[in-house]
């Protein structure tokens, strides 16, 4: 256990030229464990006043105050390149966990039906099935899950990573199967390659979500409206909010529509609670 303020000494004992692969693996894991103990994948809910205390800057403070008082708050998510995805996925399951068993069942069935997108995009079942299964394993536990158990599920890296990959693949598959809608935004003038864009920006683990990725994620799920509160230094008393609505509405299907809010600060997403 490394205490705060004390640099990990593990690397010093080793001559970098002499490290074998297993040692590198072990050291990497130790560094990750130290990081994890300080900074969980999904943290605890915090009141908006905690956020306010972090800032002295007047622009930020006025924007944070305008977010609302009372029950408003946020839940920090680890900044590891997957934060938008993890924040979205956690909030998705958190909202579902408060619904009735029937509504959870309907949501699960509907999301199952979206697996067809993965096939349509040409992904092999061998490649995606384990990730998809992890999502539906969690669905099975939802009706009886406590808030603490859900946080703990998401702090299990294997579970959380798998669900993130599932959601990344859904978003990438949506772009691949609707390439005409996305090509104008991807084309940099030198000819765009949808497949390469998806590989580099969406399918690759630990690559942060851009605007297109979030739009594709919302479109692929069709049962979620997403609002992103931009907490940055731009002028104005209130933070700008970008809303993402699914292009195809799921109004004719059973699952309830969910509303997810994320709090964006340059380079990082957390979950926002109004």
């Amino acid at each position: 256990m490394v205490q705060d303020g004390e640099l990990p000494t593990i690397a010093v004992e080793h001559d970098p030229d002499q490290l074998d692969d297993l040692t590198i693996l072990r050291l990497t894991q130790e560094i990750k464990d130290v990081e994890a103990s300080k900074n969980p994948l999904v943290g605890e809910f915090k009141s908006i006043s905690v956020l306010l205390d972090e800032y002295k800057d007047a622009t930020f403070r006025s924007k944070i105050k305008a977010l609302g008082g009372g029950n408003a708050g946020y839940r920090p998510v680890r900044g590891d390149g997957n934060c938008a995805w993890r924040a979205f996925a956690f909030r998705y399951f958190e909202l579902l966990s408060k619904l009735s068993k029937e509504e959870i069942e309907a949501s699960s069935k509907f999301l199952q039906s979206r697996t067809g997108l993965l096939d349509a995009a040409g992904y092999s079942e061998t490649g995606y099935i384990d990730f998809v299964e992890e999502t539906f394993n969690l669905f099975q536990k939802l009706p009886d899950i406590t808030p603490e158990q859900l946080v703990s599920e998401f702090n299990n890296a294997e579970v959380s990573s798998a669900i993130i990959v599932h959601f990344r693949l859904l978003a990438a598959a949506y772009i691949k199967t609707h390439s005409g809608d996305y090509l104008p935004f991807i084309d940099d003038g030198e000819g765009a390659d949808i497949s390469e864009y998806c590989n580099r920006n969406i399918e690759a683990f630990s690559v942060e979500a851009d605007h297109l990725a979030l739009s594709a994620l919302v479109n692929s799920m069709t049962t979620v409206d997403l609002g992103v509160v931009y907490m940055d230094r731009s002028a104005g008393e209130e933070a700008v909010v970008h809303n993402f609505f699914p292009a195809e509405s799921a109004a004719e299907v059973d699952p309830p529509l969910l509303k997810i809010d994320l709090l964006y600060r340059p380079g990082h997403y957390d979950i926002f609670y109004k």
Binding site: L25, T126, G127, D130, F131, L169, N199, R200, E203, A204
Partner: protein, 152 residues
């Protein structure tokens, strides 16, 4: 059973039951190291009638993280000549590094490497081959490759 062995088990049965042309499993006895033989199927004079051997090394973080992949020398198995393949078998290929994604499989990586060979007509090593091989880490995953020429 950890997740990655389940995934690899499924991949192995795919590779055996539905093999891609020119790609065959030479050895896969555990979930640590697999050896895959590949052949280039067109008549590229550099590789015609030759077989090359790829070594895949997995850790429990597979497939979230990329496997370690390189060519190995063996009886009748040379390291293919290519401007992105070092003489120690290390391969400079996007999909093995920053271009990796968990949807990739041993089969899809093998096919990427096969097509990388098929498209090559230069009988040469990377320009820094001697220097790299003299100081290369045991694992190619410890190397941050510089892409010399994206046109190859």
């Amino acid at each position: 059973m950890p997740g990655y062995t389940k995934r690899l088990g499924r991949e192995l049965s795919d590779l055996k039951s539905n093999p891609a042309v020119g790609i065959s499993v030479f050895q896969a006895d555990d979930f640590r190291i697999w050896l895959i033989d590949i052949q280039v199927m067109d008549n590229n004079p550099l590789y015609v009638s030759k077989t090359f051997r790829l070594q895949f090394r997995f850790t429990p973080t597979y497939p979230i993280e990329a496997p370690e992949v390189q060519f190995i020398r063996s009886l009748g198995r040379e390291i293919p000549m290519h401007p992105h393949i070092y003489s120690n078998g290390h391969i400079c290929l996007d999909v093995l590094g920053s271009g990796w994604s968990p949807i990739q499989t041993v089969g899809s990586v093998s096919m990427s490497i096969q097509s990388m060979l098929a498209g090559n007509d230069r009988n040469e090593r990377p320009p820094d081959d001697a220097r790299y091989v003299a100081s290369a880490p045991i694992s190619p995953k410890q190397t941050r490759f510089v892409y010399h020429d994206d046109n190859v």
